[in-house]
Subunit: 332 residues, 2 copies
């Protein structure tokens, strides 16, 4: 029995269970020369998938309706006619939301569960870690002593960004939505300060208080009013890495904010959209750095692991209510 | 008799004549060793001066109340005890709105009226030209064949930006506010297309039509709804030079716009605030290039010359209604 999750409708606003369809097939998957048969072990659910569910113009292609959704997956090789992969190997890649599937091996990377837990290859040693490291390095251009603010700080990317900021000698302030998350930022991830946007009465003032020298780098995962508040506190020559806008992904109408242009002119400041796939040539070097930091205990991570293939869509939906701490992963 | 214009009030909204005060003094200006006496010839009025009239936090210091306003000025040396300047020399510099003034020579640049008209040292060979050239080069990073959109295109900076764009092999589209200005963009400055934002019924669509391959570079002098419309048409890896926001300088409330962050993420696009004074190390090279293009007839310019010292404040106010074509200069 092979289970598959299809995109049934393009979500309007926040995705709901009715946007997804489960199908089960009795089927013998036969592999041809060069192919391998994969059994899914872990599935990554990520906010950016919301964009791929829309038909809107985007440089990440839209998912097709009534076809399987894809995301980062760790899978076990259970049969192989491909000389590069042996039965028992684990691989990571962009794969379908299926319990089993056939692949020709293209785009798959062997991962080693003895060096780090398999799930980390979807997180701190996968796209999440690469996004955090390369976004901060390539656009943020951090210099020791500067102040970094991270929104979505308790999320998968944000929690790694903050830790790398500390390794690089920055003052790091995280913004998140519960007191429990703020405690985690400070105690587990070593952030210097945290601001709970749900209980803050004046975000501008709270950021100013946490960043008395102003904000040099802003790693933005959320957009919306939180990002507006940061703008009031940026320094001259500030760099803002626009990595995501989870607060507005589900908006049906085009969101409005304060005009950023006067802030950019006044501060000679920079805002740049970041998509990790544009930096593929830097992945090997970045992976090496992240693995070293992880092995040295300088980098830690949090995962929210949900059990069971059938729970993939709900785990994805829960991202938009911030129910995850760190990387949200479904274990099959 | 020496006349001076002081800043009397910090303007609320659009500046008015009552924000300025004229004083006249009977006075013999005596110069000490090292000093020179200057008689004002041309005064530049520029939108950015509006920012200096406010008390708001800015890295350009605010003008003091009841003190003379300063801007770019061309003056004639009428007495000198400074060996670097002789009577009859013309100089450019940031000087007070006074008919005559004493200087120690610091920050003054000798200009040669036989090589180019004196007024051009406030315009195409002055801060205006440097802003156009360095903004486009340093942030826009233009590549031949790309599409450039310029807002405030008939203004001093915009008209030079568009011409440099053409020299560099770009497709250039200008946005301005009257049909007469659009004609000038196309016929005098060689823009490929122009859009009149006052008569356009759908700016998004008109930009899309004028830029069928999308917008790679946006040189933004205006901010506000015009810039919102450009965002809908940007290409992947677009660069937006945020040079000014004249459409909102006089707003009493913080202006709102569509959220730029989702557009930046989706397009891996960049927005950066530009202030020419940050690029002072590149002025000599830029001046050389601008002078060469001007001498070769590749660069032309338009000036709106207003006569008489007493008309300086009104000329400044008129900038915000777009009454100037090209550089607005007051001849004394």
């Amino acid at each position: 029995m092979i289970k598959t999750i299809l995109l049934k409708n393009r979500p309007e606003g926040t995705p709901s269970m009715s946007d997804f369809e489960f199908i089960s097939e009795e089927s013998d998957l036969n592999i041809k020369e060069g192919e391998l048969l994969l059994e899914t072990t872990y599935v990554s659910v990520d906010p950016y998938l919301r964009g791929r569910m829309s038909a809107a113009k985007s440089y990440v292609p839209s998912f097709e309706l009534n076809k399987p959704i894809q995301s980062g997956v760790i899978a076990k090789v259970i049969a192989s006619k491909n000389k590069n992969f042996a039965v028992g190997d684990f691989v990571s890649g962009m794969l379908a939301w299926k319990t089993k599937q056939v692949s020709n091996g293209d785009g798959l990377l062997k991962v080693d569960g003895s060096k780090a837990p398999l799930s980390t290859y979807l997180g701190v040693l996968g796209m999440t870690g690469l996004t955090a490291y390369l976004g901060l390095e390539q656009i943020g251009k951090p210099k020791a002593g500067e102040t970094l603010v991270v929104s979505g700080a308790a999320g998968a990317v944000g929690s790694v960004v903050g830790q790398i900021g500390k390794i690089l000698g920055l003052t790091v302030i995280g913004i998140a939505g519960t007191d429990e998350k703020i405690e985690m930022l400070k105690n587990k991830f070593g952030f210097d300060a945290g601001i709970n946007y749900n209980t803050s009465k004046d975000m501008n003032a709270d950021i100013a208080k946490a960043a008395p020298n102003g904000v040099d780098i802003y790693f933005d995962n959320v957009g919306g009013p939180i990002s507006d508040a940061v703008l009031f506190n940026i320094n001259r020559f500030a760099r803002m890495i626009i990595c995501g806008a989870i607060s507005v992904y589900n908006n049906k109408e085009l969101p409005k904010s304060i005009s950023v242009q006067p802030f950019l002119v006044k501060n000679s400041a920079l805002m740049q959209g970041f998509i990790v796939s544009n930096y593929a040539d830097k992945f090997p070097e970045a992976m090496k750095q992240l693995s070293t930091w992880l092995a040295d205990g300088k980098l830690t991570y949090t995962e929210t692991i949900v059990d069971g293939f059938d729970n993939i869509p709900q785990a994805f939906i829960d991202l938009f209510e911030g129910k995850n701490k760190g990387k949200m992963i479904v274990k099959i």
